[in-house]
């Protein structure tokens, strides 16, 4: 474990971003008159953005070594394959 006194990421600023993005999601979902397909893309994009902020700064993936980052990323392509396979089930 790294015991040196290190510079921490700006946790409070990330928290404010997360709160603002959550508020933006609620506005997008219920207040703004946007076509459903664009709304869907924007909502999913905001959710992924928030998830990335948590993973990179709170789980410290931004400052971890590459081999641990790869370990964290391994299930993502597998998850994408699983979701694509079940969504396209009707096609094949």
């Amino acid at each position: 474990m790294d015991t040196a006194h290190r510079q921490h990421p700006p946790y409070i600023r990330i928290w404010i971003y997360l709160a603002l993005l959550t508020a933006a999601e609620l506005l997008l979902a219920f207040k703004l008159p946007i076509p459903p397909n664009i709304k869907l893309i924007l909502l999913l994009g905001t959710a992924v953005w928030k998830a990335l902020l948590v993973a990179l700064f709170f789980m410290h993936l931004k400052s971890e070594k590459w081999n641990l980052r790869i370990l964290a990323m391994v299930p993502l392509p597998l998850a994408a394959i699983l979701v694509c396979a079940v969504i396209t089930e009707k096609i094949w």
Binding site: L68, A72, L82
Partner: protein, 223 residues
């Protein structure tokens, strides 16, 4: 003979650094990788059931209470921040602050579970069951008036309770783990600047639970 075998089994010198993470942290990352697949299976199934449903899906905000869940989402984000502040305090050797932030995280997590319990109670009272809508309930009246689709309420109820229920179970496990850690290690002063691995590992789990909720909140409540 024994010493020869022991020498042969020693790692080469200098020892390879490998993944450069201590065992429990590495173990937690491997566990979280398996958890990604678990929640992907749930979300993938939800997508298939929703888009292959025999009718329209209930519009967001008609059945589920958005203000309560939005507050709960904010609460979980706050508890994630307090958890990372607990870790930072431990890394800086400030054990007093570690105790404060960790306690705040436990309270936030417990409140999330409590509010989810309240949400379930409220929904069951209104008539949403995992099997669909209860006859004679408020939601059954909405189905009868055509404001809610009759054909998909069973799928809606079962997918909602399965996904949020499994997430709630994970949050509960996180709260129990943190309470255990708090009572047996943090309060007894067993963590220091040099040794605070438990805080980091339980923190990783807690942030993952937060991350999953961020995705679930959008998919289940807003879309």
């Amino acid at each position: 003979m024994t010493s020869i075998t022991a020498n042969a089994m020693r790692p080469p010198h200098p020892a390879e650094r490998g993944i450069d993470a201590y065992n429990t942290k590495l173990g937690m990352w491997v566990f979280l990788a398996s958890e990604v697949m678990f929640f992907t299976a749930l979300i993938g199934t939800y997508i298939v059931l929703r888009f292959g449903a025999p009718g329209p899906w209930p519009a967001p905000g008609v059945v589920l209470s958005i203000p309560i869940t939005a507050f709960n989402t904010f609460l979980l984000i706050c508890s994630s921040v307090s958890m990372v502040k607990a870790f930072a305090s431990a890394a800086d050797g400030d054990i007093g602050k570690l105790k404060f932030w960790m306690l705040l995280t436990i309270i936030g997590g417990a409140m999330f579970v409590g509010i989810q319990g309240f949400e379930y109670h409220h929904l069951i009272e209104r008539g949403l069951l995992p099997s669909g809508v209860r006859e004679g309930s408020e939601l059954a009246a909405l189905v009868a008036s055509g404001k809610l689709p009759a054909a998909t309420m069973g799928l809606y109820g079962s997918t909602f309770y399965t996904m949020t229920g499994f997430h709630g179970f994970h949050v509960t496990c996180g709260v129990v783990s943190m309470i255990y850690l708090y009572v047996t290690k943090v309060l007894r002063g067993k963590y220091s600047q040099a040794d605070h691995g438990g805080v980091e590992v339980v923190g990783l789990y807690w942030h993952f639970v937060d991350l999953v909720w961020i995705i679930l909140f959008t998919i289940v409540y807003l879309i």
